[in-house]
């Protein structure tokens, strides 16, 4: 009797174990450091929004793949006129939004009219400023007319900022997102998690996962514990200092990839003494890039000498423009009229790479006589003071937008760099379609801003994901902001 009972118990346990494994095999729980303020990617700049919804809940006409290439999305194909000004998109048929309404050309027109409207709250409105007109040819065809050729147009309409929304639901997307993607929004437990569920009638290939939870864990130590305890199955970009714990653990895989984040010592070019070229050059010479990469990113960052991603085909290695040379830095400071150096403030947002880089740079600058006062700030005051009001001397921040060298052509941008030559070159670059000429122009731009030492160019952020070893299909690189669930699956 006792034997039978234990066998029964054992098989019950076995059953339980199997059903747990089966349940786990189509669900995923992803740790996310920041909770999004809302869930509408077309109405907010926060990366945390795209992390949850991009290509999962919402889709655009085009789709950016893991390597940054443009793929068909809701548009199955497109033709471009010879002058590069007219794009005609054929839309996929039988696509429905998660509330059951159908997706048609009118929705595309609605989406872009909404982005370009006077009162638009789109965070990247400027990216779409070349669009002169969107017209509906028939329910399955839509035509865009541009005011000038725009090489990045197909890429930009694939970003989270230009995902297609429906007029019926757009106003509620912040709390109840309705898109066309493979996953539908299920619930949002504020302060805890967002849960997505596979959308049955999805038009494209069905993903392997049926359910995905994004669990908000702000603290690195807590995230480490959650991973080790199996409370979450992975996180897309984890603190580099904690990676050794997982690298040596066979239950985990560590994915090291690239991001579009140029991390810079942003300098207020409009404010003395930083308006003097010699001062900026002196600071460039005082920066020991290798030490910063090692200290702030544990060697995962890639040194940069200008504002350009090293994995981009137009990249030019300019890290040697102003090599680490404290002696030369002191000379330049003396030439600029600061033989004894000067004092400045360095405002740091609440991210590990900035806080660590800040302490290292303060120590390096002290050796050439520049005395930095470190001011640690939270995101909201940082955005207000530094980004909006330009009330800063120096700050450290990663610019994560892809191909964003154009910010140097905007004299009103927060670092206040006004160079007509750069502005002219950038305009020409935007209007040029010839690949070889574009590369030439982009490299010329990189060289000028490197020589002008506009900002202290530090490193390209790496993406270091930690995932359960039995998962596959996660994006290694981050060409755009987002954690795309489409290809993720459990393998035994």
């Amino acid at each position: 009797m006792r034997v039978t009972k234990s066998i029964a118990l054992a098989s019950a346990g076995l059953l339980l174990a199997t059903s747990l494994a089966a349940a786990q095999s189509t669900e995923i729980r992803i740790g996310v450091p920041l909770e999004p303020p809302a869930l509408d990617p077309t109405a907010g700049a926060a990366e945390a929004i795209d992390v949850v919804v991009y290509q999962n809940v919402f889709e655009g006409l085009t789709r950016i793949d893991e390597n940054g290439a443009v793929q068909p999305g809701l548009a199955s194909s497109w033709t471009i006129s010879d002058d590069g000004l007219t794009y005609r998109f054929s839309l996929n048929q039988g696509v429905t939004f998660h509330d059951g309404t159908s997706f048609e050309a009118e929705d595309v027109k609605f989406t872009f009219d909404r982005i370009l409207a006077e009162d638009s709250v789109n965070a990247q409105k400027a990216l779409y400023s070349s669009i002169a007109d969107v017209s509906v040819i028939d329910p399955a065809t839509v035509e865009f007319t541009l005011s000038q050729p725009d090489e990045l147009f197909l890429f930009n309409i694939g970003r989270g900022d230009a995902v297609i929304v429906a007029p019926e639901s757009a106003d509620n997307n912040a709390s109840m997102p309705i898109g066309t993607g493979p996953f539908a929004f299920l619930q949002w437990d504020r302060g805890s998690r967002v849960i997505l569920e596979q959308y049955g009638p999805y038009w494209g290939e069905k993903p392997a996962l049926t359910k995905a939870s994004y669990v908000f864990i702000g603290d690195t130590g807590a995230m480490t514990n959650a991973l080790l305890a199996g409370d979450i199955d992975g996180t897309y970009n984890f603190a580099a200092e904690a990676l050794p714990i997982f690298e040596s653990n066979p239950q985990f895989q560590v994915l090291v990839g690239t991001t579009e984040g140029e991390t810079i010592l942003s300098t207020n070019n409009a404010k003395p003494p930083f308006d003097q070229l010699e001062v900026r050059q002196a600071m460039a010479h005082a920066i020991n890039r290798d030490e910063i990469v090692e200290g702030a990113t544990y060697g995962f960052g890639v040194p940069i000498g200008s504002h350009f991603a090293p994995h981009h085909p137009y990249y030019l290695d300019l890290t040697g423009t102003y090599p680490f040379d404290p002696e030369r830095a002191r000379e330049l400071l003396a030439e600029a009229g600061f033989p004894d150096g000067f004092s400045a403030t360095l405002k740091l947002p609440p991210v590990a790479y900035a806080r660590l880089s800040g302490q290292i740079i303060a120590s390096e600058f002290a050796q050439v006589g520049i005395d930095l006062e470190l001011i640690n700030m939270e995101w909201a005051p940082w955005l207000e003071d530094v980004f909006a009001n330009k009330d800063f001397d120096l700050t450290i921040i990663s610019h994560v937008a892809p191909f964003d060298i154009g910010i140097y052509a905007n004299p009103d941008y927060y670092f206040g760099y006004d160079n007509p030559q750069v502005q002219a070159l950038n305009e020409e670059l935007n209007a040029t379609t010839d690949e070889a000429r574009r590369k030439e122009l982009a490299q010329e731009l990189q060289t000028i801003i490197a020589q002008d030492a506009v900002n202290g160019f530090l490193f390209e952020l790496a993406q270091t994901g930690v995932w359960n070893a039995k998962l596959e299909g996660m994006w290694k690189n981050a060409p755009v902001e987002g954690v795309v669930l489409r290809d993720i699956r459990w393998v035994e």
Partner: protein
């Protein structure tokens, strides 16, 4: 208090010596540390204890001993300033409650109840959130919690002493209530306040570490023991020594202060010793 009585109490000797040792380290850091606090050297980070770096180095290659010295100074400063606030406001309140009674006493007691109803750290978080993080706000937050503690100690002590004959004699001699409080009551409750002071100092150091750990206390580039713990947290599994060094420093300081406080109580006020034995027996 004779030196013989101190030496006869081994706990007090150990406690005072350890406390004085840390206090000395902290004070020395004002003038000298083995390495400058801000000196970063990535090449020598995570070094284990060695002849050059007695306690090793942290994630930025800074000397741990220098950081502990400077961090201890912050901890002691915050803890003792909070005690000063508590004594400065709490003792007069307690004295007033005891000698005036009535409404004054009721107000002081209800204020104490109100403050005690919230755990100290919750009050501290509230204050730090309202006024922004920083060492000075941590002092105020911890100091506010100290006020009712000292008020109650002062009131209790005063009530006991007031019943003694010499106080009655002073009153008969025509001394005013404030005069009695100053000349006769305060000196007689001083030992109680000193003992409570050491205990509140250790609690204050713990509270400062807690506040800094959750990011509401001391802000970098200044350092404190709690801040060091916070920085080391994400590295705990890889480089445990970064957490152990400041953690152990806090533990040793707090234990030393508590032993010293116990010893002081025994030595300064023998009557309390018997009361404590009675407490223990209960």
């Amino acid at each position: 208090m004779s030196s013989r009585r101190i030496l006869a109490h081994p706990g007090l000797v150990v406690g005072l010596t350890a406390t004085a040792g840390f206090a000395l380290l902290a004070l020395v850091s004002l003038f000298w540390t083995p390495y400058p606090i801000g000196e970063v050297s990535i090449a020598r980070r995570f070094a284990l204890p060695s002849a050059e770096h007695w306690l090793g180095t942290d994630q930025l290659g800074r000397d741990m001993l220098s950081l502990v010295m400077s961090g201890t100074l912050t901890s002691f400063t915050v803890g003792s300033m909070a005690v000063v606030i508590g004594v400065g406001i709490g003792v007069p309140l307690g004295l007033a409650a005891a000698i005036y009674g009535g409404l004054v006493e009721w107000l002081v007691l209800r204020f104490s109840d109100l403050t005690f109803a919230f755990p100290a750290v919750v009050i501290a978080i509230l204050i730090a959130t309202l006024m922004g993080p920083g060492a000075s706000n941590a002092i105020i937050a911890i100091g506010i919690f100290n006020v009712p503690v000292f008020a109650q100690v002062a009131r209790g002590g005063t009530l006991t002493v007031s019943t003694l004959d010499f106080v009655g004699a002073a009153r008969l001699a025509g001394l005013s209530r404030i005069g009695i409080a100053w000349r006769h009551l305060l000196p007689n409750i001083m030992s109680l306040i000193i003992v409570q002071g050491t205990i509140q100092l250790s609690l204050g150091i713990l509270a400062e570490a807690g506040l800094s750990y959750i990011g509401l206390g001391t802000q970098p580039p200044e350092t404190s023991l709690g801040l060091m713990l916070r920085d080391a947290q994400s590295l705990f599994l890889i480089h445990p020594s970064l957490s152990l060094v400041p953690g152990l420093a806090i533990v040793i300081i707090v234990i030393a202060l508590n032993i010293a406080g116990d010893g002081l109580r025994d030595v300064l006020d023998p009557r309390l010793r018997s009361r404590r034995r009675a407490d223990a027996a209960r």
